[in-house]
Symmetry: C2
Subunit: 339 residues, 2 copies
């Protein structure tokens, strides 16, 4: 373990909150990793410590472009991230963090970012930080931890944050709510590949990028680009003032990786000028505040055996048509507040 020589680990092998904070602000990758582990912990004491560290770091967060990346398995998210992250570091000399949100990673086995072997070049770059998705936890918990990891990475000086997710579940909405720019990776030849993508995701995208536009696939990718451009044209204009773009790219040959980088910068320039960038981040904060309220109440119920049993009974009563959802929920809150 690469431990900052200025910091003495305590007897219990852990650092103090002060030590964590200064380690993160100094960009110590090992300490950053340990702090994220605290944030992800289901142990209340560890989680509290993680939150205390985070609370000290938020004043130093925010200075990055947060990029959400989604697409079905097989679309090439890892190779894209490898090529894109490496390009960013070479082009800007800035630090890049890659996080993943994939609550299904335990179930599916072969998770995105489950191992770093798919991004060998990027993983070996000292300016890159790659963090796999937590392998356990509810979507709510995983999403919170990922969002908070973004803040810790920013405090540690990462100016480009890529948050990956698989476009087949609920997690894209969460990623959309924690990023500035949302990129949907697709394959040409629509049909089959598309079946896996959840409805509603296309309309969330700031850009649709058709990957694997190389070799025999290039002509098909160009055709797909035209089709998606026509389709997006029919969509209502987004509140950002940005017109969602459709591009082809190849993570393999490097085709248009530069163009996608410039596109994201154009987006940031436009939305910082028209106020949308800041506005979206504020709305996201409010979203996470309310998500946290729900999450904590759910956790509170889950950790209280009597309440949990009662909630299950109520859910059953609702499904059987014995009680309305409103009555069933009211009775839970009465128990919760003791009133």
């Amino acid at each position: 373990m690469a431990i900052n020589p200025n910091i003495n680990p305590r007897k219990n092998n852990d650092y103090s909150i002060d030590e964590y904070v200064s380690g993160i602000l100094n960009g110590d990758i090992s300490i950053l990793s340990k702090a994220i582990t605290l944030i992800e912990s289901s142990n209340t004491e560890k989680l509290r410590k993680g939150q205390a560290i985070l609370n000290r770091c938020i004043k130093h967060s925010g200075n990055s472009i947060r990029i959400g990346l989604t697409g079905v398995p097989g679309v090439g998210k890892s190779t894209f991230t490898e090529a894109f992250g490496t390009y960013i570091i070479e082009k800007t000399n800035k630090k890049v963090a890659v996080l993943a949100i994939d609550p299904s990673s335990k179930k599916h086995g072969g998770s995105i970012l489950g191992d770093k072997t798919r991004m060998l070049t990027l993983a070996g770059n000292p300016k890159a930080f790659i963090r796999p998705s937590p392998s356990a936890g509810t979507l709510g918990g995983v999403a919170r931890a990922t969002r908070e990891s973004i803040l810790l990475c920013e405090a540690a000086g990462y100016e480009y944050i890529i948050v990956e997710t698989v476009g087949v579940g609920q997690s894209e909405t969460e990623v959309k709510e924690m990023t500035d720019f949302f990129l949907l990776l697709m394959l040409a030849g629509a049909g089959d590949e598309l079946q896996g993508i959840k409805r509603g995701i296309m309309e969330m995208a700031d850009a649709i990028v058709i990957n694997k536009a190389d070799g025999d696939n290039l002509a098909k990718a160009k055709l797909a680009k035209k089709e998606y451009q026509t389709a997006l044209h029919l969509f209502p204009a987004p509140a950002s003032g940005w017109t969602p773009k459709v591009e082809i790219c190849s993570a393999l040959t490097g085709l248009n990786i530069d163009l996608i980088f410039n596109m994201i910068h154009d987006f940031a320039t436009l939305t910082k000028a028209n106020g949308y960038f800041e506005q979206q981040r504020r709305e996201q904060l409010i979203y996470w505040f309310h998500q946290s309220l729900q999450q904590i109440i759910q956790d509170y119920i889950k950790h209280n055996a009597a309440l949990q049993d009662f909630t299950k009974q109520q859910e059953k009563a609702v499904l059987n048509g014995d009680k309305t959802p409103f009555v069933a929920a009211s009775e839970i809150i009465e128990k919760l507040t003791g009133k």
Copy 2:
């Protein structure tokens, strides 16, 4: 007021719960209206009475096709509903209820269904029940009341329920979550008209119907139909197994009103056979159960001055970057549960 002669109003001019329930089951429109008013009430005692009535009625609910209808102002929702509702009654001799969810109705003044004058024929039909949107309340409260009104209408024997909303806010998601079939009304000539529609709504639609396909507009509507068909083709397939349809219609000339009716029946036949119809309703019940939990907690906080002040402080602290959303929310729950 047409009061059922078999029922004696009490001194305080209200009925007992038994009287309400039997009135609703007998299809008494006046009693149904009064019960909906209770469900909509912000007065706790009235709301409780409404819930008690509803709880007795749910065993008699469910036997209808619930149709969600959305579109921007000016697309012709009222004239469409007038033509469509009248057609259903003539064709099937069944009863039709029209409800509206429009939390903005107070602000905007001229609300959908704000008056029944736009649906004179339907409003005068004894087999139709038209209920404007409550003019006050949060979206959560209005949505709950509308969903519960559906159940009361079903208990009163309405077999077609049309729930209208304006496609410019958050309310379409709520309508989608309380209906079986979601119909998006559009105008030809895309561009301007579309700007008002919220992103994401197109992908929720089971059908896109281009209204005002009459006179000079007919050719444009046919062209728009082709464009939308191509665009929808690029969307992922919905879980229902139903391929979303695009049609033109004219509420003015009656063009394709029959076709839309048949389409909705085809949808119901397909999804009842493949199990999706029932599955969606069960998922919706769980959705409303969890929505109610949130709503009631919010109301609980709102009606407790100290908690509300504290929540506002916490929200401010989150926006200022003084606290993380998680820490801010945790502190509220500690106060709420007294732990």
